[in-house]
């Protein structure tokens, strides 16, 4: 079977969660005996590309054994990153699909590559789509209104007109119609979380969205088997991820700095916007219980998660499938998470972790104090994670998609 993967950006140029997902799928399908290729938009300098077709520069190469076709428009349109229509791309995408002759196309993200989807529909090549964020329903991707509030979805564009007035009404209407066409013609729509699936089902009620959880590579995961007693004092809390304001790291610092306890520690792993990092350091104000640890390598994840007690995921936007939370759960590390989105989906407060009111440092502080005063409650939480939370492996995730491809082909 020949499978084309479509994605808005890819390794080695970009490496966020979606690229990881597409790499994992392409790599596993190749291991399962299929012919794969990743088609991606790219941002390399002109000299990188070795082929030209009208307005398009492109090049084929392999990334860790995976064939990649990276292309770029010589004169990208203004709405490159949020538009869903580009007439110049139609002929190019048709030509590529005709050459590649895929049995199936799997879309990891339609941004910048959406005309391939239109061409696939025209050429009757079956395609499936995995939702990885809200881009299809929100040109700003993260469902955040212009005033900073979270939005619950476009509601056929009514909310967009009300909350994000920088977009013209007709533009949003036209965009949502194209999304409906793309979704309606797909042979399957998938989401890593129930939360993201439900958000799309609310907006597009006829849509059937199946959940296939993202898988983890367990070779770096080590189970944290620490046991706690009533009088344990040295509890280590941790944040791991990018340091950006929508991740809510400041909320941890607001909560933590107000807790008077000399034994606890907070480790912050990650890097991010300089201004935000400086803001975080200002809030920490030299508190020697707080350590900024930088970025850790993927192969060190086992040691990192074995050197701490509780992880905090305080995002103030709808995380869809936060990787760090899933890695923590796979490592048997309890988490305190915002009561929102894909975080709350996995955590039942007091059973397999803790939730707090999104954005509320006092609510988070209460959970931290609860753990400091009663560290032994972590034992039951860990036991419940161990017995009740199964985060699949990359192989299991890929197998589930393989079954989908085989049923469609």
């Amino acid at each position: 079977m020949k499978i084309l993967y479509l994605v808005h950006q890819f390794y080695p140029e970009c490496y966020t969660g979606t690229e990881k997902f597409i790499y994992n799928m392409a790599s596993m399908m190749q291991k399962f005996g299929n012919n794969v290729k990743v088609i991606t938009y790219s941002f390399y300098k002109d000299a990188f590309y070795d082929k030209i077709s009208k307005d398009f520069l492109f090049k084929q190469f392999t990334y860790k054994g995976i064939p990649v076709l990276a292309f770029r428009l010589q004169k990208p349109p203004l709405d490159l990153h949020f538009g869903l229509s580009n007439k110049d791309m139609i002929r190019f995408s048709e030509k590529i699909i005709e050459i590649e002759k895929p049995d199936i196309i799997h879309i990891g993200h339609p941004m910048r590559v959406h005309e391939f989807v239109t061409s696939a529909a025209k050429l009757k090549i079956p395609y499936i789509l995995t939702l990885t964020d809200f881009w299809l329903m929100c040109p700003k991707v993260i469902l955040k209104a212009s005033n900073g509030d979270l939005c619950t979805g476009p509601q056929k564009g009514i909310q967009c007109n009300k909350l994000c007035t920088e977009f013209q009404e007709t533009y949003i209407k036209d965009r949502l119609e194209k999304v409906e066409f793309m979704l309606a013609n797909a042979k399957g729509i998938f989401s890593p979380s129930k939360f993201l699936a439900n958000m799309f089902k609310n907006e597009f009620p006829k849509l059937e969205v199946n959940v296939i959880n993202h898988g983890l590579r367990y070779d770096n995961i080590k189970t944290n088997n620490k046991i706690y007693r009533k009088n344990d004092k040295n509890i280590i809390f941790c944040y791991a991820g990018s340091l950006n304001s929508h991740k809510g790291v400041h909320i941890i610092l607001d909560a933590f700095t107000k807790i008077k306890n000399e034994f606890i520690k907070l480790k912050i792993y990650g890097s991010g916007e300089e201004r935000y990092v400086n803001r975080l350091k200002d809030i920490a104000n030299g508190d020697n219980r707080i350590e900024f640890c930088g970025v850790f390598k993927e192969e060190n994840i086992g040691d990192v998660f074995n050197s701490l007690d509780v992880i905090i995921v305080p995002s103030i936007w709808y995380e869809n499938y936060p990787l760090v939370l899933h890695e923590a759960l796979a490592s048997n590390v309890p988490a305190i998470v915002s009561n929102l989105g894909g975080m709350a989906e996995k955590i039942q407060d007091g059973f397999n972790g803790f939730t707090f009111d999104t954005g509320d440092y006092k609510s988070l502080g209460d959970k931290i104090k609860l753990i400091i005063d009663n560290p032994e409650i972590l034992n039951e939480i860990k036991e419940n994670i161990k017995k009740n939370v199964v985060i699949p492996t990359v192989e299991q995730e890929a197998y589930n998609y393989l079954k989908v491809y085989e049923a469609i082909k």
Partner: protein, 411 residues
């Protein structure tokens, strides 16, 4: 679909130092849907790591046996005897069900298709090397289960080939009712699953090999492991099938052939290392096959430096070095062996596999291909050494006896 399913199942897993992914296996088994209860039966033969403690955490029934008592049959039989499920699922410590409906799918197939036992194809782990994938693909072709399920019964014409094709069950994943199993149980210290399948079909039963449900399993073993594996496979095929053909091979000639072929692979590896990558598969294939065409121009090597080879493990190199030191005498004639032809047959399979999947060969794939060549060579050496041992069984060849003692252990 089964309605009102209230059937219990026991999963029997022989263990010894099961490794860090064992806990996830138990977790995945505990999370299987469609059964009222799942019993885990762990038969441990002397683990010194946390295997037994992990099994206890997952409420497994633990049966301890002495390491010296372990055989593949004994461990599984004692596990089955101590299980309480209506159904048994035999698996191994490094396998993993592909999803939460895995066991249920096997049982539904068993119920709906009038078969008494089921095994399924494997899908590799993400780190699986090219050699494992080619061999696994070849096996699926041999058994006729690449992309289709197979229900097998006793073939009309039976010989070692048709019996293998129709009677193969695999203990990586073997689903069977307890009643059926207890009437047979496993025999032999190796290939007990094949023997079980053949006895079932000889008694008029049907068994199934599935492609529609697969189990995750693969491991990247060393060339030395495949030397042993090839050796033991051939010994047991002869033990199970009287008609399994054993070529008459002279041990001294085999040593010559082994050393020649090793050097020949070294030459191929050197040659393909000089090619600028990426290139088409055809180019690599014609480069390698070009060497084969000139085989008669090659003479037996004068000396060999085993240390240099980075694609082969130390144990295998040591094994070859000893043979070379003790038995190799250079001949000044053209090559007249047989290993090269066997290797060529494998290469044809390998390139067929590569052409199905890849368009070009890059630096990642070429390294995998080099390792693949040496592992296949090791497997073939094992096969042929076993043939020599079988041929010389009564002649008490001391070298072969020593090799036999070394290679038969620990597979």
């Amino acid at each position: 679909m089964l309605q009102n399913n209230k059937i219990d199942i026991s999963v029997v897993i022989p263990t010894k130092n099961a490794g860090k992914e064992f806990e996830f296996l138990l977790k995945t088994l505990r999370g299987q849907k469609g059964f009222r209860s799942i019993e885990l039966v762990v038969v441990d033969s002397g683990s010194t790591d946390s295997t037994v403690n992990i099994a206890k955490e997952y409420n497994a029934k633990i049966i301890n046996i002495l390491p010296e008592d372990f055989t593949h049959s004994y461990a599984r039989n004692i596990g089955a005897e101590n299980s309480s499920g209506n159904f048994l699922f035999f698996t191994v410590q490094d396998a993993l069900p592909s999803n939460e409906k895995f066991l249920h799918n096997l049982m539904v197939f068993l119920k709906n298709n009038d078969v008494v036992a089921i095994s399924c194809a494997e899908i590799p782990r993400e780190d699986a090397d090219l050699f494992y994938r080619v061999v696994s693909w070849d096996h699926c072709n041999f058994f006729g289960i690449n992309n289709k399920d197979k229900i097998a019964k006793l073939p009309k014409i039976f010989n070692y080939n048709t019996l293998r094709q129709n009677g193969q069950l695999s203990n990586i994943a073997c689903f069977v009712s307890k009643d059926v199993f207890m009437n047979y149980k496993y025999r032999y210290s190796y290939a007990e699953d094949l023997d079980f399948g053949i006895r079932l079909i000889k008694d008029g039963n049907k068994i199934a090999l599935l492609s529609s449900t697969r189990i995750i399993h693969s491991h990247n073993r060393s060339a030395y492991y495949f030397l042993k594996r090839g050796y033991v496979d051939s010994l047991f095929l002869k033990e199970i099938f009287n008609d399994f053909p054993i070529p008459h091979i002279n041990f001294n000639e085999l040593v010559l052939d082994m050393i020649f072929t090793y050097k020949f692979i070294n030459n191929i590896v050197q040659k393909i290392s000089l090619i600028d990558l990426p290139v088409t598969i055809d180019l690599i294939e014609s480069c390698i096959k070009g060497e084969y065409k000139q085989i008669l121009n090659f003479t037996y090597p004068e000396t060999i430096d085993f240390d240099e080879n980075q694609y082969v493990d130390g144990k295998f190199k040591f094994f070859l070095q000893e043979l070379y030191n003790e038995k190799y005498k250079q001949l000044s004639v053209s090559y007249y062996g047989f290993l090269i032809n066997s290797l060529l047959a494998f290469l044809n399979s390998t390139f067929k596999y590569l052409n199905n999947i890849y368009e070009i060969i890059d630096v990642v794939l070429i390294e995998d291909l080099k390792i693949c060549l040496y592992k296949q060579y090791a497997l073939l050496c094992g096969n042929y050494l076993a043939y020599c041992y079988i041929n010389n069984f009564h002649k008490e060849n001391i070298d072969l006896y020593r090799i036999h003692e070394e290679l038969k252990r620990g597979v």
